[in-house]
Amino acid sequence: MSSNTAIRLTGVSKAFRLYAKPSDRLIEALPWVKPRHTRFNALSDITFEVKQGEVVGIVGRNGAGKSTLLQIICATLAPTQGQVEVNGRIAALLELGAGFNPEFTGRENVWMNATILGMRASEIARYFDQIVAFSEIGDAIDQPVKTYSSGMFVRLAFSVAVHVSPQILVIDEALSVGDGAFAKKSFDRIMQLKAQGCTILFCSHSLYQIEAICNRAIWIEKGECKLIADAKTVSTRYQSFLASLDTDKNAPLQQKAVINAAAAPYRIHDVQLAGHSKTNLEGQPLFASEADDWQLILHLECAPGVLSPTLGVILYAASGIEVTSFSSRESQVQFHANQRITLTLAKLPLLKGSYYVELFILCDQGIHVYEHLRYLTPFEVSQTHLELGLVRLPRSWALENLA
């Protein structure tokens, strides 16, 4: 292993044996009996390397094998096949406060937990005050942990873990601890460890955190390593994968459902999007936020002699939230006969994520619904910065020096 490698996995697989009864495991340990378990492959053939000082994120859905992978790296689980090499003192935050005993005081638990995490008595004595100060527990340190609020509990546990000064820190979903202020502090502490050259491996469902902290990321899906690349690429591809799952789930809706269409004097067809420069993995249009002009194009047929209908467009985020809507009536647009209609959002002000559109044709008063087209034209938006949310609003900052 080269000297600057912190973690190296070579062809690591883990098959869990599922036993109906724990005693089956014991009977199986006898040499002559045949297997009494069903196998479940949690990880198959994972190979990657983490350099010292690197921060690597792990993404994947629940049950994909992330936690198993971290447990194998921490050696609480043995791999079924393959090799794990770890270079340096490893601190595992697989579950905050895993070694805590609720009957004992915070002080006693700090001692216990720090010893479990590999600190020596002299080190614990030296860092004890810092640990307590960081956790903001105050005088409650001498109260039994069972009297703590869940926030206090995780704060104390987190505080112990980050004071161990590990060379390798393995974190499972533990970054956003406590209230906003403490979450910030814990985040800062992790960044500080990162600056000190600590190798960090963590898994999180927050792609924002992954992108913000990690150099690289690993995407695990069904126990297989689907992608290892820079954090941004992994995050984007993983997100569009999640969005595609979402659409699977809504499959009945996806079939461009037409409601109330019978005998309507209006018809919409050939709805499509334009203005994008790329498509994503699922073949959906991929718009660059604030760069591409987003265009919704459709054909509208009106029976002769009827009043101009009202066209309504609702823009949804993949989660089902209405982002905004557009009504032709509000814009005082009139339609006649056979027309091609283009709705343009110049320099699309949406932020990264997946979206879709629903269309309504209503009477001229905008009240009676003739036609409702659901789940049209799913598309994705990518962005170059880290701002959060759905839309980018025009903003201005004003600075004034105060006397």
Partner: protein, 258 residues
Amino acid sequence: MRQALGLLWQFALRDLAGRYRGTLIGFGWVFVTPLLLLLVFTFVFNGVFNMKWPHSDWDSPLGFALFTFCGLLLHQALADTMARSPGLILSQPNLVTKVILPLWVLPASILGAIIFQLLVGLGVFLIVLAIVNGVHTSWITLPLLLVPFSLGLLGVALSLAALGVYLRDINQIIGLVIVLLMFLSPIFYPLSAVPEDMRFWLNLNPMAALMETLRTTLILGEWPGARFILLAWLLGGLFALTGIGVFRHLKRGFADVL
């Protein structure tokens, strides 16, 4: 290893502290529990059943109490070990699957706490004995008897802790075994009071010879035989090695079933 010893210390402390946490007399229970037990047994066997130890100068209730106490201390240590080991790892799955920990520390640490209690009990016993009966030089052989006993207990603790993870039935049956052992060991009676043909079977229990020897060594001031001590060490070592072997072999599967 250094970390493991630190852990051992922490866990043992935590175990002792936890046992008496929140109780009114705290550590006092270390002394009170065996004394109360002794009182009850003395009342029942000496007072009600009028049993006697076969040494004429030890005919008083106090004499009966001291004879009984000696065997009872050893049995108490074994009983504690047997009662607590099977559920030890089972009840703390987090320590197996969530943190990196040399797991043998768990049974070893409760054993540490149990041996501490045994030593306190023996201390009380020896002080009373010194006041009533004076000090015997044969007492210096006490460590030679206690170390193999502790090794034996370690073997029991490791084996039961490991097996308990897989066979949850152990927890159910162990209470019965402890009571059985209490009456089948020469605690309330000397081995010599047992009918000739039964004695062989009772002697199969290693505790029997140890209890007898401890009594004669501490109370009567007789020196334990060299052959007995050698045998005790061999047996203790065998128990410990078996326990270590079983534990090492079985711990690989812990995470699979927890």
